[in-house]
Every structure is written in structure tokens, then in C-alpha cells.
Symmetry: C2
Subunit: 638 residues, 2 copies
């Protein structure tokens, strides 16, 4: 274990998810998303733009003729699929799927070059340009995703073929770049966190050192990207001056305090920074992580958890700039923020990180997927208006409904690999403590005191009751359970008796002698919360968002008619929470009698708009856009 790490992941194989909410989502991944992706990768879906990703590997392996096709980062689609398959095989063994994954891995092996290099774009299309355009060409990004997949596949199956392939490639990368090699930093961060994963699995120091090099040389004068640019003389995407902010290369990473640029790149970088800070006990780096965390979550994050305010660069803009309709809020960026949050939890136990994981999972990530798992959003707006959203130029990217599969398939496999590995985010441990970061139903086993097995039964996110049962336990350890930041009350009882729980840092710490059969009941009220936004966010002044537990709510035209902006929920109006089963599944909806401002004859008038009573129904934000195209709005006028 690293010097700093206060707790760490547990092996996914030691977790079983049996959760009334998430088991269904995981099943969708296994039954729908992963098979669909596999078909896409093999170009087997008629009418969907071909991926060619597998074919690219076949060409690189010399087993097919033809040209490279697709994006320069097409390989990463295969990687993310393999990573999700690895986690899926833990959830539900599937010999056929595993065989096909093995075959894919074997193909990767055959496509690998003599020296370990593995990238179909540069192998097939521009072999002369290898390593020359790190800024634009995602070479190290694809390597990172393949390494992550290889680590996951080894951990899931115990088979090391993929791991060996990727170690050869990682060795090549480590021998090329760094203080003893040539300069180079990735245009799209990802390799850093992947190499740290590889280091953690293998114990091989050079992987950690190269990850550290990539972070250390970023943003340092003279800037690598400028050197590369001056030397190169050709572009992949197009010319113009280097926008260092876009790549988070405007400053050395330890000097960064404000999230800038492409939001997914930022998240992957911050994740690696937190990883490195805990591994090598780098306080200045951890301080930078904390500053960036605070900036992201307290200045630049939507109430749904979405991050990235503009499609231009799919990027952060500046503090308090959070337009609800021209928003970007890419699903992948929310996935990335969960990665970052989980890593921060390894550096310090603080409920804020778990709060954001919750927010993302029940908000900005889940909203990316149709309830049936068949369609996806990249962009997660907080306000849509058919006729404007997805149509008018400024709003073209913020679609009012989930489209068919994308050619650029980054978000769906990212959601798949997160949801299938959810157990790792829910649980943690260290030498004397078991952590429950999320209320995720199921079981988890820990190598503590000769073995502990905890079962969790949860009605989350709808009910404020969670029960932990020690199925196996014998001796003293601490059980630390996350107390959501929004919970005003949070009661613990053990074996039916109230327990005066020690609440610190957003966790309830229960230190005692445990024995098998001990039952911990946690109860907290699930009240509807009116949430207000800092008035620096001009779009939300005078408005309120409705939340209950970790769930953010939205108004949809399907329930409230057109003209959602004309609805008011005056302060003081009672809001009822009601269980509902229907097209959105078994959910809790919110109901209130508010007001509707009535359209008059004149566009402008000295008479305020008249108001009539209006029944308002709000549904979970993550479930929006599942009932045809219509208006949607999160922030409601008070």
C-alpha cells in the first residue's frame, strides 16, 4: 500500500451486487449494451455507421486487406468494450463471451508490432508518423485504455495474455518517454492513470515513474506541445496556435487551481494526479487535486453533476458559467468525475467525494442512457426545447432525445465499464476499517480480521433505510458508512438498539467488536429539498431545483404540458413524494400545486402575466427523454 492511501479499492470479485436499482442497470449492460457494442465493433448493425474497429486490427495484423477507417482513436472502442466485458464476466460468468473476448485479445496480439507497438491507425495508415503528434492523435490515450482493459481482464479472469501484450507496449512507452528518453506528453490524458493501475497490479516501478513523468512534464516551459508543433509541420485535425488550456497544459499540474479545457481530459488527468499523490505521498500534488476538486464541484458543476459548459472544446468555461441549454455536460466527463472522486477518497476520507459519486451515478451518468439501455446521450442538458435544442446552431449538440448509436462511441462504453465495476466504487477498506461509500445492495468480502463478509439491503435511492448484516465477522474493526451530505438526520441502530454513532468527515464510524449476524440499520428521512443556486449563476436566479436523496428532479412536457418556463413553484408550496410504477420504472415522483403564468395578448405589457393553479409533476432527471420528444427543465421558477 502506498504511503498516503487511507483506504483502497477491493477486488471486484469480492463484491456481489444485488440491488433493486443497480442490478437492473447492470443487467442492461450485460444483456443490451455490451452485446450491442460488440456488434457495432464488428460492423454487424445494419444502418449504423460502420465502426471498423475490429477490422482495423485485422488489417494491422495482416489478416485482411483494406484501409484504416474511423477516428484516430478508434482502437479505444475495442479497449473500453474489453474492459466492460472483464467486469461483466465477474458479474455473470459467460463462457461464450469470454471466448470471444479471448479471440479479440489474440487478434490484438497479432496486430502488435515487433517492438510492442500497438495502434492500428499508425500501423496501417501513417507508420511514418508514429509518436510525432501526441497532441492530436490519441496514441497514448488508446494505449491507456488498452492497458486499463488488460488490467481488468487479468483481474477478472486470471488470464495474462492481454496483460502480457500490454506490458510489452507499456515497456516500449516507458523506454521511449521520460527523463532518460525523449520528451512527450499526451494530448488526451489517460495513459497516466492506466500506467498507475498497471503499476499497482504488477509492482513494476517504471510504470509509476513514467506516469509521473507524463504529469510532471505537462505545462512546463518550454511547452512540449509547442516543441512538437514547431518540429512537426503537419496536422491531423488542423492548424492554428496551440490552445494549451484545452489540454490542461497551460500550467504545470501542481500549479493548477481552476478546471479548464476539455472536461474529460481534465478528469482523467486529475484522477491520475490523485493516484500519483497517494502513491508517492506528494502533498503539493494532492493540494492541487483539492483545489481543482473544489473548483469543479463548487464553481463549475451543474446540479445534476454535469460538467463542461460549452460544446466548443467540450470544455469548462469559467466559474459560475452554467448555461442550462447550450451546456455540454458530457456523460464521459461525469464518469471521469467519479474516477476522480474515488481516487480522492483514497487520499482522504471525506464524504464530499462520496456525495459527488452519488450525484453523478443517479444524475449526469445515468441520464446518458435510455432506460432500456438502447440509446445514449453524450450531452446532458438541464433544459431542452424541441425546435431549439438539437436544431438551432447554438443548441445543435444538446439533443432533445437520445439518437441512435454514435459513430464516435466514447460515452456508452464508458458508462458500461463504470456500471459493471460499480462494486469498486461502493466499497473500500484499509487495515482496520471497512468503508461503505455508496448504499449498494449485495455482498462484499474483506480480508480483515480473518475475513469479513457484509451484506447490504437498501431501498436507495427511494427509501431512507439501509441495513448492513455482518454475515461473517469476528473481532474488532471499524465499519465506516457514508452519511450523505444532504441528510439532515442520520440514525444508526445495531441489533435493534440505537447506536450513538461517531460522525466525522461525512462518515459514521462504528468501531466495535463484531460477530456474525450483527445487524446495522441506518435510517434517514428522505425529504424533498428545494435547492437554490449561487446567484452568480445568472441562469438560475429566482429558480429552484427539486432533489430528494441523491436524485435530482426535472419537469417534462409529457407530465406538465408545454411552456415549462412559465411554471412557478412558489416558496412554501408543499411538495409530495409519491411512488409510481410506469414507463419510467418504479420511481418516486414529486407532485405539487404551483402556478402557471398565462400567455396574454401582448408580447410586452405593463400587466404582469396572470397566474392559474397548475399541477406540477417532477420525475427523476436521469429518466428524462424516455417518453418521446418534449420540453424538459430542471430549474423551476419560484
Amino acid at each position: 500500500m502506498s504511503v498516503r492511501k487511507v483506504q483502497q479499492n477491493i477486488d471486484l470479485k469480492n463484491v456481489r451486487v444485488q440491488d433493486p436499482f443497480w442490478s437492473h442497470v447492470q443487467k442492461l449492460m450485460l444483456d443490451t449494451v455490451i452485446p450491442y457494442q460488440e456488434d457495432v465493433l464488428h460492423d454487424r448493425i445494419p444502418g449504423v455507421e460502420k465502426s471498423h474497429a475490429v477490422e482495423n486490427f485485422r488489417i494491422a495484423a495482416g489478416e485482411a486487406d483494406g484501409q484504416f477507417y474511423g477516428m484516430v482513436f478508434q482502437d479505444s472502442d475495442v479497449a473500453k468494450w474489453l474492459e466492460a466485458v472483464a467486469y461483466a464476466l465477474i458479474i455473470r460468468p459467460d463462457a461464450e463471451l469470454e471466448k470471444r473476448a479471448d479471440e479479440m485479445i489474440a487478434l490484438l496480439g497479432r496486430a502488435q508490432q515487433e517492438d510492442g507497438y500497438l495502434n492500428t491507425y499508425f500501423t496501417v495508415k501513417e507508420p511514418e508518423h508514429r509518436w510525432q503528434n501526441l497532441r492530436e492523435c490519441h496514441e497514448l490515450y488508446c494505449a491507456g485504455h488498452l492497458i486499463e482493459a488488460a488490467v481488468a481482464y487479468y483481474e477478472a479472469t486470471g488470464k495474462d495474455q492481454f496483460l502480457c501484450i500490454m506490458r510489452r507496449y507499456a515497456d516500449l512507452i516507458c523506454s521511449r518517454f521520460g527523463k532518460d528518453g525523449v520528451r512527450g506528453v499526451p494530448g488526451h490524458q489517460e495513459i497516466e492513470l492506466a500506467l498507475i493501475k498497471l503499476y499497482r497490479l504488477t509492482g513494476e516501478k517504471k510504470y509509476l515513474e513514467t506516469a509521473q513523468y507524463f504529469l510532471d512534464d505537462r505545462g512546463v516551459e518550454p511547452k512540449y506541445f509547442q516543441e512538437e508543433e514547431d518540429r512537426r509541420g503537419w496536422y491531423h485535425w488542423g492548424g492554428g496556435p496551440v490552445d494549451f488550456h484545452y489540454f490542461q497544459s497551460h500550467l504545470p499540474v501542481r500549479e493548477q487551481s481552476v478546471a479548464v479545457g476539455h472536461s474529460v481530459r481534465a478528469m482523467y488527468m486529475y484522477t491520475a494526479m490523485a493516484d500519483l499523490a497517494t502513491e508517492v505521498d506528494d502533498q503539493p500534488l494532492l493540494d492541487a487535486c483539492k483545489r481543482l476538486w473544489d473548483n469543479v464541484t463548487n464553481k463549475q458543476m451543474y446540479v445534476t453533476g454535469g460538467i463542461g459548459s460549452t460544446r466548443h472544446g467540450e470544455a469548462f468555461t469559467f466559474d459560475y458559467d452554467l448555461p442550462n441549454d447550450t451546456i455540454y455536460a458530457e456523460t464521459c466527463a461525469s464518469v471521469g468525475l467519479v474516477f476522480f472522486a474515488r481516487r480522492m477518497l483514497e487520499a482522504e476520507v471525506d464524504g464530499r467525494y462520496a456525495d459527488i459519486m452519488e450525484k453523478e451515478l443517479y444524475g449526469g451518468i445515468l441520464s446518458g442512457m435510455q432506460l432500456d439501455g438502447k440509446k445514449f446521450f453524450y450531452v446532458n442538458p438541464l433544459e431542452v426545447l424541441p425546435g431549439l435544442s438539437g436544431k438551432q446552431e447554438e443548441y445543435k449538440h444538446a439533443l432533445p432525445k437520445r439518437p441512435d448509436w454514435y459513430a464516435c462511441a466514447c460515452c456508452p462504453p464508458n458508462v458500461a465499464r463504470l456500471v459493471t465495476s460499480l462494486g469498486q466504487y461502493a466499497w473500500g477498506q484499509n487495515a482496520d476499517t471497512i468503508f461503505a461509500h455508496l448504499y449498494l445492495g449485495g455482498e462484499a468480502e474483506f480480508a480483515l480480521n480473518g475475513g469479513v463478509k457484509v451484506r447490504c439491503e437498501s431501498g436507495y435511492p427511494w427509501q431512507g433505510k439501509v441495513r448492513y448484516t455482518m454475515e461473517k465477522a469476528d473481532g474488532r474493526f471499524t465499519f465506516a458508512v457514508h452519511k450523505p451530505g444532504w441528510a439532515t438526520d442520520w440514525q444508526v441502530s445495531i441489533n435493534g438498539q440505537p447506536w450513538d454513532v461517531d460522525i466525522r468527515d461525512g462518515y459514521g464510524w462504528i468501531a466495535r467488536e463484531w460477530k456474525a449476524g450483527d445487524v446495522v440499520d441506518i435510517a434517514f428521512p428522505m425529504e424533498v429539498r428545494r435547492v437554490y443556486c449561487d446567484p452568480n449563476v445568472r441562469e438560475n436566479v429566482g429558480c429552484v431545483a427539486l432533489l430528494r436523496g441523491p436524485v435530482v428532479y426535472a419537469l417534462e412536457e409529457a407530465d406538465n404540458g408545454k411552456g415549462l418556463a412559465a411554471l412557478r413553484l412558489p416558496r412554501g408550496v408543499e411538495i409530495a413524494a409519491e411512488e409510481q410504477s410506469g414507463p419510467l420504472g418504479d420511481v418516486v415522483v414529486l407532485k405539487a400545486v404551483g402556478k402557471r403564468l398565462v400567455h396574454g395578448d401582448d408580447l410586452y405589457s405593463v400587466n404582469p402575466p396572470a397566474e392559474v393553479d397548475a399541477e406540477i409533476l417532477a420525475v427523476p432527471y436521469y429518466a428524462w427523454g424516455n417518453r418521446g420528444e418534449g420540453e424538459m427543465r430542471v430549474w423551476i421558477h419560484e
Copy 2:
């Protein structure tokens, strides 16, 4: 006079403007804007991108070597300058200026081709492409502006050289296009209204008929633009399918009901439609004008009078889509709406048209110009935020301060020609009535009852008192004075005695025997109005705009600090109007004690933002952006 026309323009030479507000603005035009433009046209301003407009004519005339430079519509800058000069010479004779204008006109004559053709782009650069790309190349647009200028110059000076040049060109156009010629409609409307002006001056029917043809053949299947496209095989601006809405060619003009596409093109077309409808008594055409008028002013117009909601196509979008920050609201479009309003007043006397002229003059047009006449806005936003406006991609066009002169100089000369001809918009007449559409101080003479001369003294827009004195009058006629739509009370007295005025159609009709020395006093309260927007406009729900008389007000950072969106003006708070002299001139400002929402620690909180008292000061919208760069906002939270 046409069959329909209920009243008509008067000769500008019969109007003298002596107005405490507008005389200053006219003086700016004469002393600053027109001379500056002249220098620009001659490429005499260092550091400003060269115009080359005059040089293009010299090259076309064979008097200089070189290539055409500038936009395909560069000629129109010369035309608009000449038109403004014509009006300026009426306001203040200037032999030197007139001599230089005469020389410019002579140059135009020498640049004219044997057959009458006069366009420097196609004469110098692409003679083989003449008349082939009406959609993109502004050939007829430039012709229209030159014709308008020639008519104005003749009316101002009595000299017919320019008129003869343009009649030759107009004759060529009329002989080429129409039912007996080839098909063709202009990509940018303007020729239609110009030919009708030429017809009115000369009585030559074919000018009217060709204008009618251009309107009649627009939007008719098979669409001309598609025919041209299919035949042509080359582009000026670029390919792609023809966007018929952009050019208002989606439907025959008589079938149009909703304003679409490029807003300046739309305004020029509607103006010509209203002209034609009155000239030939075309009720279906007039009905279309009324529908379009209603749509523009009651569904798609900003409270400042701005029109055009998006920069993409500088265009209308759809009903109630009125974003305040990504807005276009081009100054030229507001100028065009004044043209349209004035023509509608010729078809029917209705105070709504005069109301909009007022709104534009004291709002969306005047805001286009810096108070010193030296800089201009094309885009007139209702909300700016430095750091966002003018910078972030979606807001790049909505500048937070007026830039130096533009290479594409459409708006400044358009403002110049409107303001210098203001008298024509203020006054009207028919056989038995004199109309005062605007409260414009000065004198106007009418050929009615042997000659009438009216003097107007007005403290408008700050004071609600206007005095008309009949300096010369003898006999019975009607004096019809516009009663602003916003005026709740409007009292008339004649020679000191209250007069029970007949108010109909937004005008007070005073029919009596008049004699020299009669004095009409009009008094109306100038109360501050809280104006509300239709709740269909999502941006303005919960907000209020402040107006007083025809003047719209705005908050500026210079007076109110940063964070204007966090200011509230609760309903019921008293708002005081106060005269102020300072950097904004002699204006009336508005003051109130409202609330400021206070920034807390958290981006999101269950606690509503705290409020503190805040002194709020609002300044006339047209004067915004004259005190450095800062936030500005028209719609204020209530």
C-alpha cells in the same frame, strides 16, 4: 397619389429639425459619421482595414490599375454614403461636401458600362458572371442602394446626373428581368423598394412593374434560386442546399405570415411589399404585410426593438425565441423595421406603426452608435457579460463594447441615412390632414390650404409636454398627432383651452379651422413603467424591464457593480426618475432601492440566497456601453 395611400411623406426640404435630442444626433452624423465614412471609402484612415470602395469604381472606370477588393457588395457603401450626404445637404448646405459628392457621382458615371450596367465587382473581377448569381452576389442589392441614393440626391440638390446614371441602369434591369424578360429575383432584397422610389419620383411605370415582378416571382414554384443553382455550377460563398427561408423565398410573398430568415432582407422586402400594396391597391399583399408586422412586433421583437434572435444567418428563429445574450438584433434590421413601419403608416393610420418607429429610434437604432458617433454596434444585446460576450464562441458576435470601424460597413451608413432623413418619418400629410407621427422639434411646411407651417417644441423623450404652433395656417384641416401607445393619459389644449380631442387609431384627430398663431399643447404623464414579457419567452420569466416614455432602460456595471443578474427589483418598490447630466448627456435615469442576492459559500444550497438592500440605477438602453466594458442587463429580476 396611389389608390390606397392614406398619407404620404413630405419633401424633406420642407422640414427643419430643431430638437433638443435629435439635432445633436444629426450634428454627429454631419460632423463625425459622414466625414469618417468618406475617409474610409477613400482608404484614408490608418489602421482601419481598407475599404477600396472608391478605388473599385476608379478601376472599373479605367482610371486606375489594380484588382477589385472588398465584399461583393462593396459598392453599396458608396451608395449609402451618397444617400446620407443628400439628406445632410438639406440639413446643412455644404458646397465643399456637395462638390465631392458630385465628383463621386461623376466617377460612378464613368464606371458605368455602355449598356448602363454599374457594378464594380462584376465589371472588374468577374465580367463573365454578370447576372448569374443573384442569390449570393448582391448585384441587384447594390443597384437598389445606388437608386435610392440617386433619388435622394436629386430631391436634395435638384441635380439629375446621378438620377440619369441610375435610370440608365434601372432601364437595363427592367428590360432584362420580368414577365417579358428572363426570370430573376434578388438574393438580398432592396431593389424592389428602390425601384418604387424611382417610380414615385419619375412616374415611369416600368419601374413599379419590375419591382412588382421581383416580389411576385419570389418563392414561386419552380423556385428561381433553385433554377439558378442548377444552371450555375459555381458559388460565391459556398455550396450546400439552398436555404429558401434565409431569403424569404420559402413561400410566395402573399402567403407569408411568419418572419423568417435574414432579418434585414426581410425588412427590406416587407417595406417594398407595403409600398407596392399601397401603390397598386393590393389587399392580399397588404394583408400579408399586416400578418408579418404582427408576427415581427408581437412575437419576435425584443423590448428594445431589436429583431433577429440568432447570428446564424443574422436571422429570425421562431416565435418567442428571444435570447438576450446570444441575440443578433442587428442595427440595420431595426433601421429596416422603421422603413417598414413608415410604409405601413402610408397604408393605414395606426399608432402601432408610429410606436415602433419610436421604439426603434430611441432603442435598437441609437444603441448602435457610441454617444460621440465614433463607434458602432452591429449587434445589440440585452445582456452582456465581459468574459462571455464577445469571447466565448456562442457569444463572440455580441460584443461588450463598440469596436473600431468595421470592414463590412453596413450599419453605420444605414443609421446615418435614417437619422439625416428623420423629418420624413416624423411628418406626413394627405389632402386634408397633417400628421405628426413623432414628437420631433422643429418646423414643417405642407402644401395644404394654400400652405401650412407647423412648429413643434418638444422635450421628448424626457418630458411629457409637446407644443405645436401653427406658424402659417388659414382654414379647415385636420391635425392628427400620434398618441403613444404607452400613454395612459393624453391631454390636448388649444390656445390654452382644454380640447376634447377625438382619439382613434392611436392618433388624436383635431379637425377645426386653423389660423396662424394657434397653439396646440399636448401633455401626458411620463411615468416609469414596469413592463412584463409574455411567459412564452423563457428568458424573461420573473423579470421586468423598465421603460419611461419611449425609452427602455438598462442596468450597467458602472452604476450597479458586478453581478447584475443577482439584483432584484421587487414588485411595489418605488422607482424614481431623475434628470442627470454627465457622460451620458442630459438624460433621465431611474433609481430604486431593490435587493441584491448574496453569494454564499456553496454553489448549491437548501438555503435561499440572502438578500441585502441595493441601490439600483438604470440608464437609457441606447446609452449603454459608453463608460468602458462592463456587464449590462435590460431584464431585471423582480
